[in-house]
């Protein structure tokens, strides 16, 4: 008596859902331009005035730190607000009523917002290097480092999105999280300028690891530290993704 059901395979589900999620450019482009481009750009310009006197290391830190801030603020904030929007506006019910896996939806959201943030990142990368007169020596590993810089922050944005009690709570938490990650470790400042405790925390802070990995693969030189940076970023992503998967119940979506 049971019926044979129709559904797309997993890759097709992800591709369709990425295309659906890319439609979010219709609202998110303004936020991406402001949060992922203008805020880090102005921050970069402001900090560079102070960093110029501290030498090229400090300028490199400001440059790579600002790129990480762009990825962090943009993806963390946008994914958080989008997931909260879907939960509280009932859009999740639409997805839950389709024959798709919930992790395919979350993966698609992360991929889509990553793709949407790339133009701002590339613009910041080019304008920033020109403004700070930093010569770039991109390493092929950069193609792996950029997604790995985005994934931990996206996963944290998703985690806040699935757990926040209200849209207001979600947005406050994501701003706080972004600044905590930016402040606790060598993100915008070189490690040698920070107190010991912040350097210590920075060893496990994904934002600091992302800054380190980005600096090595974009400006050089590539050191042995890159392996540890990538391992920590990857491990952090896995842990947070596991939490998102276990805490994300689209059936218990709220309605305003």
């Amino acid at each position: 008596m049971s019926k044979r059901f129709r559904a797309q395979n997993y890759p097709t589900q992800v591709v369709d859902l990425v295309l659906i999620e890319l439609s979010n450019w219709r609202w998110s482009w303004r936020s991406i331009v402001v949060v992922s481009l203008f805020v880090p750009l102005f921050g970069m310009v402001g900090l560079s005035i102070y960093a110029r006197d501290l030498g090229p290391e400090a300028l490199n830190a400001v440059y790579s730190g600002s790129l990480v801030m762009s990825l962090m603020l943009g993806n963390l904030g946008n994914i958080q607000s989008h997931v909260v929007f879907m939960r509280f506006q009932g859009t999740l019910e639409y997805f839950a009523s389709l024959p798709i896996h919930k992790h395919a939806l979350m993966l698609a959201i992360i991929i889509a917002f990553f793709l949407l943030s790339l133009p701002a990142l590339l613009t910041l990368l080019i304008i920033g290097s020109a403004l700070l007169r930093i010569s770039l020596a991109p390493h092929p590993l950069l193609l792996l480092v950029i997604p790995l810089c985005v994934l931990p922050m996206s996963a944290i944005g998703a985690l806040i999105g699935v757990r926040a009690g209200s849209p207001q709570q979600g947005s406050s938490l994501s701003v706080l999280t972004a600044f905590v990650f930016a402040g606790l470790g060598p993100v915008l400042f070189p490690a040698e300028r920070l107190p010991e405790i912040l350097r210590l925390i920075g060893t496990v802070n994904p934002a600091a690891r992302a800054t380190s990995a980005l600096r090595q693969t974009l400006i050089g030189p590539l050191g042995e530290q890159i392996a540890l940076d990538l391992a920590i970023l990857f491990g952090f992503t896995l842990c947070v993704s596991y939490l998102v998967e276990s805490k994300f119940d689209w059936r218990a979506s709220h309605a305003l």
């Binding site: 059901f5 979010n24 219709r26 609202w27 859009t91 019910e93 024959p99």
Partner: protein, 297 residues
């Protein structure tokens, strides 16, 4: 549905208590109930959007919890709230819904065009779903629920917010799906009078309990051929009625009187018909059936 019970956390009472019923393949089953009766909770349990505290739901003989995609691939669901579908256009929402339900890309494009035509939404094809009116969103959610012709439709208040023309289109399309494709349709409605045109069996829900299920014509026998007289009168001038009849006050100037055929002549004689603004006489409807069973509880 077998012995379904749902109690929300921190709620004093259960939203649904021990509900059991069966919907047959190819049937149109309506669920009637007042506000807070637990209709939406029941519908969400059916489509696995809410976990039941106890009970089982079998779909075509198979428990719905066994496979996460089993239910969603066979059932098209329309929620009560007609929210936006992200920022998709109407055309995109229909295409992706059909494609994700297993259609090939070219077939999904044809399906999108067919749905736009069936639900009279051709001129909205490129409109952002977030900017549609409440009624337009409801039509879109209905079209989305029917994309790729699922075996069963579960619809929560399909005609709310719709103008009379659109309501008629909805009932016609649902009847067409049932007749031509054998789609099983389960829906909630407040609009008992219009729903009566298509319902084959009905369930009446009251305070979280299923009071009765059955075919309307069978259940109506319990009303003993009662008639429903609706009268409208000028403000402050209600007509006199025989003492044994208590009217149901629909508004300050409109009453409804449920009576047996032999009482009709006495009522007509008691009222001064010339002073009435309007008068309508109907045989028992689903609405009467609903009041009969709910008031008996």
């Amino acid at each position: 549905m077998r012995n379904l019970t749902k109690t929300y956390p921190e709620a004093a009472e259960s939203a649904n208590k021990d509900i059991s019923f069966q919907v047959r393949e190819g049937e149109i089953f309506g669920i009637l109930g007042d506000n807070g009766a637990g209709k939406t909770t029941l519908i969400k349990q059916m489509v696995n959007l809410l976990t039941s505290n106890s009970g089982d739901i079998l779909l075509y003989g198979q428990p719905i919890h066994n496979d996460s995609l089993y239910l969603s691939s066979l059932v098209g669901y329309m929620p009560q709230e007609s929210h936006a579908l992200n920022h998709l256009t109407v055309g995109e929402a229909l295409f992706f819904s059909a494609h994700l339900r297993g259609m090939r890309r070219s077939a999904a494009i044809d399906e999108r065009n067919r749905l736009l035509q069936t639900w009279e939404m051709e001129d909205l094809r490129d409109h952002n779903s977030a900017r549609l009116s409440g009624g337009q969103r409801r039509m879109l959610r209905l079209a989305v629920a029917t994309a790729a012709s699922p075996e069963t439709l579960v619809l929560d208040e399909p005609t709310n917010d719709l103008d009379p023309q659109k309501r008629r289109l909805v009932w016609e399309n649902l009847r067409g799906l049932n007749r031509e494709r054998g789609t099983t349709i389960i829906f909630i409605t407040h609009d008992a009078l219009e729903a009566e045109k298509i319902i084959k069996r009905v369930g009446i829900l009251h305070r979280g309990e299923l009071v009765v299920t059955g075919a309307p014509h069978v259940l109506k026998r319990n009303l003993k051929n009662k008639l429903r007289l609706e009268i409208a009168f000028p403000p402050g001038q209600p007509p006199p009625l025989p003492a044994d009849l208590v009217p149901r006050r629909l508004s300050a100037t409109r009453w409804q009187i449920v009576l047996e055929p032999h009482q009709l002549s006495d009522v007509i004689a008691a009222m001064d018909i010339d002073r009435l603004a309007d008068m309508k006489l109907n045989s028992a409807t689903l609405e009467d059936l609903y009041f009969h069973y709910v008031e008996a509880v």
